[in-house]
Symmetry: C2
Subunit: 302 residues, 2 copies
């Protein structure tokens, strides 16, 4: 790769630019806020402004709902030969790019799976993507040369390219990130019902379950909205299971205290089976220590 451009010099865009600069690739930095682009340049991420001749590859690093329009604009302005993006959803930007008449032969959607709690160029790190998956979602039209260039980009950033279909990617992030975020928010929202003394019983388990619910609500509204159908599918399955478990628990709660728990029969079995599926599902997360943990801050074992 002889030259690159980054459009949107936030955390991800600037981190990519820093990684490329570290490998000697000249980078042009573009942001709708010139101050943000200058900050990235001051960090050594490249030079601010449009190149005189098209660069090899432009990385569109803007929020998902702006990817297609930004791609369309910079293809018309001939910023680069090839284009990619880094948005955390892939189906909708691809559809929007098609509707806008973008050149889909020179565009390959991507999603580097890395992030930090902080945002903005000052949080950027050239090694942010090292060893992380970098999803590539080629479409039928995507040219082989474009695929090679985006693979090279992932390699220059130290990431592992992982080819997926658009819908499989969006379903994957719905399963592993977006649906869990919604559920964590709903659990956290219920805490508005407790009084202060009740909340004093909160332990580490609750802190962990709700941690991502502390994330920026506006940003997450955009992310979830961009992947709404896939997230709705996962959440609908969770809702069905949850409804069944509410019935099972009500059944168990209605049983006389004198009835030994073994006699709740099918309700108890249903609850136990849901928890076992949870243990198994958690066991599928790569790189977890076997066994999992049971501490909830309440006296585990009681």
């Amino acid at each position: 790769m002889r030259s690159a451009a980054v459009v949107g010099t936030g955390l991800i865009g600037t981190s990519i630019a820093l990684a490329l600069r570290g490998r000697g690739v000249p980078v042009h930095l573009i942001d709708r806020d010139p101050e943000v682009a200058r900050t990235a340049a001051d960090l050594g991420a490249g030079v601010v402004g449009f190149p005189r001749t098209p660069v090899d590859l432009a990385v569109i690093a803007v929020p998902p709902q702006h990817v297609a329009a930004t791609l369309h604009e910079y293809q018309l302005r001939e910023l680069a030969e090839d284009f990619t993006d880094v948005a955390s959803v892939k189906v909708r930007p691809q559809e929007e790019a098609a509707e806008l008449g973008c050149d889909l032969t020179r565009y390959l959607g991507g999603h580097p799976m890395a992030g930090r709690e902080q945002s903005g160029p000052l949080a950027a790190r050239g090694d942010l993507f090292r060893g992380r998956p970098w999803v590539l979602t080629p479409a039928a039209q995507t040219g082989a040369a474009t695929v090679r260039r985006v693979r090279e980009l992932a390699g220059l950033c130290g990431a592992r390219p992982l080819v997926m279909a658009h819908a499989a990617h969006d379903r994957a992030v719905a399963l592993t990130s977006h649906a869990p975020h919604v559920v964590a928010s709903l659990v956290a929202a219920r805490l508005m019902d407790g009084d202060d003394s009740q909340l004093q019983l909160a332990g580490q388990g609750l802190r962990d379950v709700t941690r991502i619910a502390g994330g920026d609500a506006e940003l997450w509204t955009d992310i979830l909205g961009s992947n709404a159908t896939a997230v709705a599918e996962v959440l609908a399955e969770v809702a069905t299971e949850l409804g069944t478990l509410v019935d099972a628990l009500r059944d168990m709660g209605a049983a006389s205290p004198a009835v030994p728990p073994e006699r709740y029969g099918s309700s108890r079995a249903h609850l136990a089976s849901a928890l076992v599926r949870g243990v198994r599902g958690r066991g599928r997360i790569p790189g977890l220590a076997p066994g999992g943990l049971s501490l909830t801050g309440a006296a585990a074992g009681n």
Copy 2:
């Protein structure tokens, strides 16, 4: 307190015994598995076996569904003048104790809010309860002398006694521990649907949300079953919200890609409002750093 007994020398029972021994109180250790009681004794938690004369206070440290029967048995055998327990649910053991004809004037239910990932006497620590809340749930019949003795127990263990009604306690643990556990399990169970490449996209957010879902399924079936009604109430509220959000997301997903997100209107507003309530609810957890975190392993900010 001149003498005490612990029935059930697991993590919690042995930790209490160690704390009492550290303050010079003689402790008798009883467990249905003599080997487990001997292990606790070897750790310095007291002497194995029934005392010759009743001790001042017996701590019933067995799973919630066995609390009432154990209390009944050891009141008949005159193990102690006063009794308490450490179970993580309070309504049902109290009801069961009443049905069995226990002496409720000499019994005060308790719940020390501490635990560890490991269980059993070898995981016990004399300082496990230091600075932690220790919930006391006096009933109308509970004698003042019994309340004083259990308060003394909590004090000797370094804990902060916190008086609550039985139902308020059970609602509190449903909100802060039991319902979050069920929801974490359901999110984890959905991972059975993903293929291996999809699961490679799992980040720290998913690990956190599902951590407690790795807990022992049988133990948690007992805990949830013992507090079934309160857990069902919280989960029913989560299920209602979840159903509304699934509808909102489907509405947003069905909108044409060309429609700017600002135009999804009420569905988008509903989603945003649910996320904002999540941020606020999380902010009610005592001792959290302000702001909360948004990292999910996916590229935050995209």
